[in-house]
Symmetry: C2
Subunit: 342 residues, 2 copies
């Protein structure tokens, strides 16, 4: 077990309460940093950038170098898996665009062994791990199957999710075939990241919050449980953080049943609920509003104090409840770093 | 009090448990109906359509005529208030577009008495009420201040709400001036709808689910409470339904503190939570997934049965958890009507 690891993140994920919380920020590598924008200009498409190990490793390291987070997170994107499975992917100003997957023919056309194409990601992990100080953890990640399936079937962000939910409701057996394929791919992908050197992994289920309870259990909790079980068989000590964004009341059921080791909380999770119903089951991570970080100053100070007061006495990793906004002034993150050290 | 009203909706909102639930559907008047599309073609812009009493009243009546819901809902749009206050509004394929309101100058430029421009809406209410059978309730509505402010400040739908939250966090006093103006306008607007003949009103807080708890209390619960209090002073028996979509765990606090008479539940609200923590406080309304209605058949039957099993023994109005999808086959709504009569 992680136990008294030198890595503060791993100690919190193993259940230790710490006097000052370990911290990192979702999307801490990104456009808000001038050095990221300079780096990004050196590659063509966003996908090429993600699949260039030297550049992606440098993007992974930049925020840690500047702000001293307790963890770096692999610079990559959850939809590389969809692309590796054979679905053409493009990034526009409005977000990712894919050719929407047709239920039967689209599923048959996917390349089950496509994950091999993600070898550059594992190289990024090796480069980043080698360059990071020993006490800084490196987090690997993947999109959870429900969220990746949502993008694959809708072809991008969606207002009502009627294609993916329509398929899942109308033909749960057929949809399960896609989900099983994604479970396989996700296990293989995360296993390779672990072999390459990550210290923990996070499953991003960004669209967990659009399903009624029965479907949440079937398409969010069950695939997560399957992934956790299979990774644990091979890597029993590897911490898995689950982030079922927007799950609301269903966070409690996810905490009890999904098999993850820690829980990423979105911004809207009430702190009393988090302390009384979630942190009693698992270490929690979160959940500063990215807008409070963007605004900074006293707003940031008060929001940080409120979260630490509620969650700081238990096993806790400080983070945002959603990704860093591109408009965030970098000095606000420096201020956050000083606040968290107090 | 509503007591033994002939209107089934009002009996449920007054707390009666009914053997078959009264029902209506959010966005029941709309594009999924061929007769709506024919009617819509008779006006120019969507706003002109909303402000043409004969056309808007006919749109209000169409679904009730076809499916026999227990309530009609005024055909209108929550952003007419923003337009009446002086903010130019346009509807595009991507949703509403407004010129984003600048914090100080924009606020000063708003016409506080602009609500008078909404007189055609009250005429729509009179026409629809006169044409509806006595046992069918007519529901009026407005956007809740937080949601209307969100559109006004962001200029449309938003991914991260950084403009409106940024203002609210950075300058809560200034933002409160906008919110107070919206509370005033909403009270005036709903009072006129009530005088014109609606039997109940619903406050749509579509973006309630993007705020941390303290801000949810201040910008969602408090303005709702103020509106409810002021309407109740003048119309003590008028039922007010609150719909804080996406509020998650915070639904419980909203139920206890907002002063509304009934609670609209979104699709993701767990039925056990709704029954044990919400329906014990207030009548509830909801929460069929619009995608289950779109899919129809056994999926619809099972989803309806699950909801009625959980909530049907208490005070309950059957509805969707979000609006009818434009792709919904009308025959699925006929099937729903038959299911609910059993």
């Amino acid at each position: 077990m992680a136990g008294k690891s030198a890595k503060r993140l791993l100690r919190a994920l193993a259940g230790d309460a710490m006097p000052t919380p370990p911290w990192w920020l979702m999307r801490q590598a990104g456009r808000y940093l001038p050095e990221y924008r300079a780096l990004r200009a050196r590659a063509g498409s966003f996908i090429e950038f993600c699949l260039s190990p030297a550049l992606a490793a440098e993007a992974t390291l930049q925020p840690v170098r500047r702000f001293g987070m307790d963890a770096a997170i692999l610079f990559s994107d959850i939809l590389l898996v969809a692309q590796a499975l054979g679905q053409p992917l493009d990034y526009t100003d409005d977000g990712p665009r894919l050719a929407p997957l047709a239920p039967e023919s689209g599923l048959r056309a996917l390349r089950r062994d496509g994950i091999a194409a993600l070898a550059p990601v594992y190289e990024t992990v090796r480069l980043a791990r080698a360059a990071l100080p020993a006490e800084v953890a490196l987090i690997g990640f993947a999109g959870a199957p429900w969220t990746v399936a949502t993008y694959m079937v809708e072809g991008g962000a969606s207002r009502d999710y009627h294609r993916v939910k329509g398929w899942a409701y109308r033909d749960p057996g057929g949809f399960a075939a896609l989900m099983n394929l994604l479970v396989e791919a996700t296990v293989a992908y995360l296993a390779e990241q672990i072999v390459a050197g990550v210290d923990a992994v996070q499953l991003f289920d960004s669209w967990a919050g659009v399903l009624p309870e029965a479907e949440f259990v079937r398409w969010v909790i069950q695939p997560t449980k399957e992934i956790a079980l299979r990774l644990k068989r091979r890597f029993p000590a590897m911490p898995i953080i689950g982030f079922p964004r927007g799950a609301g009341v269903l966070y409690e059921r996810y905490a009890a049943e999904s098999g993850v080791d820690a829980l990423g909380l979105d911004t809207t999770v009430s702190l009393a609920f988090a302390r009384d119903r979630l942190q009693t089951k698992l270490p929690v991570q979160g959940n500063l509003d990215p807008v409070a970080l963007f605004v900074g100053g006293r707003v940031l100070e008060e929001a940080v104090a409120t979260i630490r007061d509620a969650l700081g006495d238990g096993a806790f990793v400080f983070n945002l409840g959603h990704g860093v906004l591109p408009q965030t002034p970098p000095e606000n993150i420096a201020a956050l770093s000083r606040l968290l050290a107090q």
